[in-house]
């Protein structure tokens, strides 16, 4: 059985946030929801200012606090290491987003159809619906409505429904079809590497052997599957700059 993991090479990451965009288009996430998020940090004072970037997907922890606290078992971990959310079981208590030290969980505070950038774009425009068949958003990915894993649950982001939780799924609908997650696939400088960590001759295993990876918030004991190479663990000395429109 594969054990999926991801390596983030901070010496290659340009902080361009293409991974965030690819994730948003692939998973049709609504406004201000970032399954993949990239911090842009500034540190120190002029002129010895330092800058750094930090991509933050879900860490798919092996000792996942979110799985432990979920009162109804909507959030579960699979043998292949991916932590997923079952939108038909989730009761929207949002306990997982508080247990998670990384803040990777997002809650559908309203009906998704109302949250697709409705401020400036009228998706019901007849000329657009004549082309897209009235699908909102017009780039809606049909893979999300299918069932995945031998547990056969609708975990690939089809959960865009009011009142349920959702988070990065390592693009389970792509990985199960043998493709790379959308963020890994689009990263311009190949700073994201994804693959089966248990198989020694995959690119990710070679990467891990070549460089000593560190983990984010190692001290919380969550044993994340996402490994970081280069750069250094973030501290509160870093201040976030250029935040996206993160609150709706």
């Amino acid at each position: 059985m594969a054990k999926y993991g991801m390596v983030v090479d901070l010496e290659r990451c340009q902080g361009c946030r293409a991974c965030m965009e690819a994730c948003k288009v692939e998973n049709n996430t609504t406004e201000s929801m970032f399954w993949m998020y990239v911090f842009r940090f500034e540190e120190g004072t002029y002129p010895d200012t330092k800058m750094s970037f930090l991509p933050r997907p879900c860490q798919h922890c092996d000792n996942a606090p979110c799985v432990k606290v979920c009162p109804v078992g909507a959030r579960y971990k699979r043998e292949d290491g991916i932590v997923l959310t079952d939108p038909d079981r989730c009761i929207g208590c949002r306990y997982c987003s508080l247990a998670c030290p990384y803040g990777v969980n997002y809650f559908n505070y309203q009906k998704p159809q109302d949250a697709y950038y409705a401020l400036g774009i009228d998706w019901e425009d007849p000329d657009v619906t004549s082309v897209t068949g009235g699908v909102v958003p017009p780039y809606k990915n049909p893979d999300h409505d299918l069932l995945y894993g031998e547990e056969q649950r609708r975990t690939a982001g089809g959960g865009h429904a009011k009142g349920v939780m959702e988070k990065c799924t390592f693009c389970v609908h792509r990985v199960e079809n043998g493709m790379l997650p959308a963020c890994v696939e689009t990263c311009p400088t190949n700073a994201l590497v994804f693959g089966d960590v248990s198989d020694p001759d995959t690119p990710i295993s070679r990467y891990v052997r070549a460089r000593e990876p560190w983990h984010l918030l190692e001290e919380t004991g969550t044993e994340p599957s996402v490994m970081y190479v280069g750069g250094k663990p973030p501290t509160l000395a870093l201040t976030e700059i250029e935040r996206p429109k993160a609150r709706v």
Binding site: E21, M51, F53, L119, W123, D125, V131, V164, T186
Partner: protein, 871 residues
Amino acid sequence: MPKVTRRTFVKTSAVAAGGTALARNYLFGPLDTVAAESPLALQPMVEDVVPTTCWIGKQDCGMLARRVDGRVIKFEGHPANPRNAGTLCPKGQAQIVALYDPNRVKWPLIRTNAKGATGEWRRASWDEALQLVADQVNEVRERDPKAVLWQKGRSKAKKFYDDAFVKSLGSAKMGHGAYCSDVGYRVLEYMIGTHAVLHPDFRYCDYMLSWGWNITGAGGNKTCWLQWPRHMVEAKERGLTITHIDPRLRSAGPFADDWLAIRPGTDLAMALALCHELVAQGFLDRPYLSTYTNAPYLVKPDGSVAKVTVGEGEEAEELALVWDEDAGAAVPFAEATSRALEGSYEIDGEVLRPAFEVFKEHIAQYSPEWAAPITDLPAEKIRQVATDFGEKAQIGSTLVVDGVEVPYRPVGIMAYHVAQQELGFPTLQAMTMVPMLVGAMGAAGGQLSDYSWKIHKNYAKFEKLTVDDPPYDYFLNKSKFFPINTGLPGVVAKVMQDPAKFGVEKLPEVAILHMVNPLNAFPSQPDFLASYGMFKFVAVISPWLSETADYFADVVLPAATIEKYEGPISVNNQYIDGSTLRIPPMDPLFESKGEIDIYMDLTEKMGLLYGEDGYLYQVNKALGLVDDKAEFGVDINSKPQVRDIFDNWARSEGIEEGVAYFEDPGKSVYIKGPVKPTKMYGYATDPPFGGAIHRFYGESLLDAQNQMKEKGAEAIYYQDYNALPTWRPPTMDSSPAEYDLYMISYKLIEHKQARTSFVPLLAELAPGARVDINPVTANRLGIESGDVVTVESHNAVTGETRSIALPAVMCEGIRPDVVGIPHHFGMWTHPVNEGQGSSPNELYFTGEGYTTNTADQSFHVKVRVRKGGEL
């Protein structure tokens, strides 16, 4: 229990009824019932992939469009395209929303209200709109073709269908180069003949000066973001060290090994100091200087080059003289065996000195200690950069690349938009001299500029610059103002407002604007507000209603975004060459059309489509389907499908399947193969450097200055035409002291000039404009993060002031005397633009003091900032 009276019964039942309605509503209605949407996809879907290229950025990355039932749902990078190798930047991913944007121009629009204010439109058919444009343009064209002005923003592939349109009309043509580092192109065309600016050979470079290069946010020379950062990251892993010279650290992010926070507008001083140090520390590649540059030319005391005329009549040509140390006499350049670079020689009673000797004397004054107070950089640091550059150049070493031995100088400069400053021309001259001194120009690991060593026609033209007498054309070509002239829309705007001052009689009357938005995208918005109002008739071709169209267009023709055939598109990433096409992933939405269709229909209406010198003839010429490839030419007497044009072009390139090759996702990128060293490195080309002698010494510039003086030009126009780059403080520094800050503008990676701020996915990443200000300065001015501040600019020549208000953001990575503003916002026609703030182009000036001596726009101005103001 309280008695159940009729009133309470009514109230409780109402509440109860409400309750059941609520429950029913909740369980089954729009409250998203217990089970969310339908679990399984309903009907089986047809899924396919269409190969195409990105339409939003500059370098047309290869893409695969995933479609379901004909509806594009995802763009992904095309693995075979060398420029992006299967990856995409944020804009590439997000353009899918722009495709479906209901705010696109859906059908041809004809204005119904007066120009100069927000337009009211009526829907028109293509026939009616094209006919109107054809009539209006023809009426003017018959009188004077040059009175028709065709203007374009970014060309999204090889400029063939737009060049063909201009030639078939005979109209004037205006591009956007003057805002996109074209002064750098002029310098490289002048000095070494290539049509490009500067970038290092990343594959072997060890030490790079990232000079004003926005590594993590913007393009670079030739191609754009994504390709260069890929090369840079691989080079850094190999050990490349980067010294970042830029008032803003943000552009380099974590990739700057050393950050020199230089004061804006003083890059010339820094470059001169580097030249001074390289000469002083003896880092000189004498064989290169004496063999491939005009450094050995003997210069008279008046600065002109000593020449001898050889041959009579027409073949008579003047050959520059050099001092041949072996022969001990002045001989023409070609005949000398050992050309002297230094010393002074008396010939026919005159004391002549090699140009290099003049250069050494000229830069003797420009020591790092001299440059330190000007650039506000420690002298020691400037000296250290020169030493590193010199040492790491490994002068004299060679390297065998793919079997070809080439001089090896692993040092170089990446410089592009740094050229956009008032002293842009001399600055780039001095910066280009730095790699030339160590012989890195065209060397392995060294300084490259174009993807081949093709010599541009301007190289020959710049040998002798001519300054005519008025009347001049409205671009002021060959005028006493701009002997070298890129063609700046800002200058045209100034000329239109006051033709007499510039000695211009004939002004443009009709304009065709294709995907260009001067009101928002180019500096000095007030000038464009004034000048574009003067056009009798303006036709705009654009997918969105641009701000310029909103105020001044008579007719708006809806162009498709990515849903059209376009090309041919080079996929050259410096190391691998090839070509591809843009294939429409869907039919054009609404009633929009691809530009080639529009141009064919328009020229047909104008009667210029068919026949000799018609549009189709020009298309064949522009695509090279003439002479030996004439058989592939399009029949010039019948209107082809756009797809057929590319089918013919593909066959002419030797691809039997024609355009089908590019429509097949398995193929679709035609790789010609790796770029050979004999094409990439100047030393290795045949003849070396394309046969062009590198103009180290600019005699024709000095000559131009003399002509300008004779013709009565003012000092502000001629002062930078010097044989050798000479320092002077920029004009903006003479603004009063209260304008104590420099304003610079910069590009964000999430946006592309003025074309993406209304794409909601990108507006989410970068929501709006801001003023980056150093906390120390902000503290002094009593400004806290998030406060709205007013930024007021001052024109040092005219005294005019302009101001905008934007939120302030604290930024430690910027000089205390500099404020930075992104230039993607300030638009108003699209709902998503709401509240995004103004554009710095409303603050910049154009014209005297704020353009280069080659009519290129300067993006510098002195400003003052104070708290307060409304957004």
